[in-house]
Symmetry: C2
């Protein structure tokens, strides 16, 4: 379902063929946790150019629940998004949000962070849920150990994740109708465990492979160190996905390591806090220096915010706590992430990716 | 600047010629207090069809301030709205929001509700401010007495408003460059005072006349009683505006009384609280009955929300407290108000307005 189009050292351009159209990689997927990317209409996302978004099984399972999404004809129809959707399995949220969780061989039981109701996720039922939602890419259930954890705990947790991955593949074998299924490689900050986990999952022939358990509080250099293992430990002929990253810097580093897919709440969450991304680095729109600034924050940016409004107006909207501030800031940041990836693809084709990356990192870290 | 096109008893269709294009009346003006209609982009407002919006001098004077709006080339340019803008004079907000206000012959001084800073509005400087903003219709400064007030206080206050109106007209005479200037008729719930106030203002030859001091807590029948004076006391050859109303019922009653212009935060504020308007009456989108409702809330509504999303999805967005809930609900309610006025115009042309009004009121009051 993924085909490489071009390569520049480990960085690569490819294309995924999915039920709701083709998706070029590298790709950044905006996060639509509750069946909406906060502050964006589906039309806005299409105007930017996104071909795939992410939604969260954990959240949607609790609210509105699978019955309502199923009755609505699936998630695409429910949220009126006719392009691709990837859903996580809920594993990460169970381990970061839910209360009273209890892990067993069969899965993980927990109490809802919304109303305390009791739920259980299993390797099998998370596939059922993602099938009910009718998503294009489903993720397997994994355990996400906290950072830091001892190597022995990471090993034990990883072994469970591998057993769950096997159950998942048995339940949704290669060639099944419905979503493509991605496996999640765990192993913490340990190269040997990542390698071992990947080795045991590759025979399961998932449609793509993710690294889970990164960007969980570790130092950047540790994360980059583990990312650097991607090219070595994951198959070259399948899409590779690092879950939950990241900053523009992280995306560039990851692409350089041969990663194809990313998702992160960062651009949208930062937008709501007034932090905006530009080709010259981050800015804070609440800063008084923008009060009388008549140009858009980025004159070259094609987004609706920059094409129509001055930085002075964005500053005013933020100070006045207006809804349009959330909308325009989110629009801009998501567009920046989209454009960054578009530029990266161009540089890969030009065999110039490393130079491109270094010059941006140098500018941003000034 | 206003021309009548058609009349059905007191109800009338007309057209105002303003600097940023023609505006058909009756017209409902969405409220963009802080230089944005909450949750709507300028494009959204245009998609619905609005030709004029309202903004608040009081709020914009405090934040971002006239210097910034002036430096930005005026309010149209600042908020990227190239159709018409009417601004109130700030009088109403001074009397409802500001602290420590002190009325004198010259104007009213007060402290900002945002930061406590000291300000003064005068009949002359509110015109200056509205000229700096470059609006199409400016309102004169008036005193808005609280409801209820004694007849003697209303009389005294009205006399001041009349003296301020004279100063305003002297300061911005008939034919001046810049905004059209509307006078505000006060007089509380007293027909004779409304008549007296109008009689004293008509010689000032304002471009239009408003009734202020309605919808300030009085019973509906009192408001409708005063509204019924509009046709008798205000000139027939100029636009008539009732400030700060109202519900769909209020708009129909007002049109029936010969009123041409309205503004109100109701449709947008109610949208944010989950109250949506339909041709069958108000609904609460938070009600569980919408949880599995697969149709839009109004299948005939042309708005972006109804054309693209089910009531079930709107219900979910509201429960999940998503930003898109505010956006879609606002879009729908403003579109409903727009469509209601469009329908009213059609019925006036059909000489059928009273029947149209009665049948809707009967349905809504069931």
């Amino acid at each position: 379902m993924w085909k490489q189009l071009y390569q520049d050292e480990n960085a690569r351009v490819g294309v995924m063929s999915l039920s709701h159209g083709e998706v070029e990689t590298p790709v950044f997927m905006p996060v639509g946790t509750q069946a909406t990317v906060k502050g964006m209409s589906p039309d806005n996302l299409k105007q930017i150019g996104f071909q795939i978004i992410l939604a969260n099984t954990y959240h949607l399972n609790l609210r509105p629940g699978m019955e309502i999404i199923g009755e609505s004809g699936g998630l695409h129809s429910f949220m009126n998004w006719d392009r691709n959707i990837l859903t996580d399995s809920g594993g990460f949220q169970v381990f970061s949000l839910a209360a009273l969780r209890k892990i067993s061989e069969d899965g993980v039981s927990f109490r809802s962070h919304i109303d305390g109701s009791l739920h259980m996720l299993t390797p099998e039922n998370v596939i059922d849920k993602q099938k009910i939602m009718g998503v294009d890419i489903a993720m397997t259930l994994d355990e996400c150990p906290p950072y830091p954890s001892s190597k022995s705990y990471i090993q034990k947790s990883m072994d469970l994740t591998i057993r769950w991955a096997k159950k998942s593949r048995q339940y949704h074998p290669v060639g099944s109708d419905g979503p493509k299924l991605f496996g999640i490689v765990q192993g913490g900050m340990f190269h040997d465990l990542r390698q071992e986990c990947a080795n045991k999952m590759i025979p399961l022939d998932f449609d793509g492979y993710a690294f889970g358990g990164l960007s969980v509080g570790e130092e950047k250099n540790k994360m980059y160190d583990i990312m650097s293992a991607v090219h070595e430990v994951l198959p070259t002929n399948k899409p590779r996905y690092i879950m939950g990253i990241g900053t523009p810097e992280d995306l560039l580093e990851a692409i350089d390591c041969g990663v194809d897919m990313f998702d992160c709440v960062l651009p949208s969450r930062n937008a709501r806090n007034g932090t905006l991304y530009t080709w010259d680095g981050k800015i804070s729109i609440k800063n008084r220096k923008w009060q009388l600034f008549q140009d858009p924050i980025d004159t070259k940016c094609p987004c609706y915010a920059c094409q129509n409004f001055s930085a002075a107006y964005l500053h005013h909207l933020f100070k006045a706590q207006e809804i349009l501030s959330l909308q325009l800031n989110t629009y801009h940041n998501l567009c920046f992430f989209y454009e960054l990836i578009q530029a990266a693809k161009k540089e890969i084709y030009a065999k110039n990716f490393k130079t491109f990356k270094s010059s941006l990192l140098k500018k941003w870290n000034k």
